[in-house]
Symmetry: C2
Amino acid sequence: MNVITIERKILEKNEDLAKLNRETFKQKNIFVLDLLSSPGSGKTSILEKTLETISKQVGIAVIEGDVQTDNDAQRIAKHNVPVVQIITMGGCHLDAQLVRNAMDSLPLDEIQLLFIENVGNLVCPAEFDLGEHEKVVILSTTEGDDKPLKYPAAFRNARTCILNKTDLLPHVDFSVEDFKKNALKINPNLTLFEMSAKTGEGIEAWTDWLTQKIKNG
Amino acid sequence: MNVITIERKILEKNEDLAKLNRETFKQKNIFVLDLLSSPGSGKTSILEKTLETISKQVGIAVIEGDVQTDNDAQRIAKHNVPVVQIITMGGCHLDAQLVRNAMDSLPLDEIQLLFIENVGNLVCPAEFDLGEHEKVVILSTTEGDDKPLKYPAAFRNARTCILNKTDLLPHVDFSVEDFKKNALKINPNLTLFEMSAKTGEGIEAWTDWLTQKIKNG
């Protein structure tokens, strides 16, 4: 019972800070996405491909969350966009306070789109509001088409879902149809994208969607 | 500070229970492995292949940990070994108490080898002692060769590491050499196995190692 009480307090404090973040994002007119997935599903690769495609037209910044290393921030920095690395030192998810601290290092007046790449973990990050507009859950075709049923919170709390690594479909046991059925069973309102960050297939539908979201403010 | 104190208490309580589990396993002469990995790395597939290969010679049981669904337990049950499914309802890892409860449903006098398949999560399960002899960390070739550096606790706290999905090596950007270098940098004492649970390649070295471990008591 102790644990539940404490957790409730943490979540309440997090919600207050998330609200503050949300107000700042609204004030600065920044569209913010929180990317969730297991390790290795391709969050950073999707970001790199996205930056290649639209970072000339849109002001983009990235907050990277990792348990250890700044490898991901180094990959993003090569694309000449502002990036902040949060190292959680074992922590299994980002929270609104960590994001708020990272925001201090970003030129908020110059950006229209902020990606927050959460810690690679399909469980814990799903429960924490960071003040983002939407959570985007990413699954790769190597992880199995049953994952929405097994990790429902991530799919329930996201509004958008990317199926990545479609280039590997010929080599893995993965039914796109079953995956979609499972994902929509958990969350009938999910917007679904299929792509390969490696080959670039399907990236345009995603970047078109992003630029549309930014236009709509 | 509150959180840290509570977490310490949880961990201390867990350690006491893990000690109890360990005593029971010793008394019953059961070799126990705690399998850790991201969702979709192939924990259940490796177990299925292992059961196919040695469940005739060795008494094996499985405890399955999942956030939701009993899909994995159903897969294991087809191999005619005792299996218990723990559904954590959102919890991001197993703990010694959950394992202790599950042990009550297992015929401990008839088994020599117990697999505990933890929740698919490369972060949280790494910190929790369940009373097992060893943690086995599993990574698949689709997840990236940098993962030992990015998720060090899992590789530091495991004694054995399986690289799975070697059949996909021709189709992914993954250097086995870099992976080994990174894994051994975090934990120089790791025993490494490479395998494809899909094709069966490399499974024998693993099952030989298992039967040797059981023989050595």
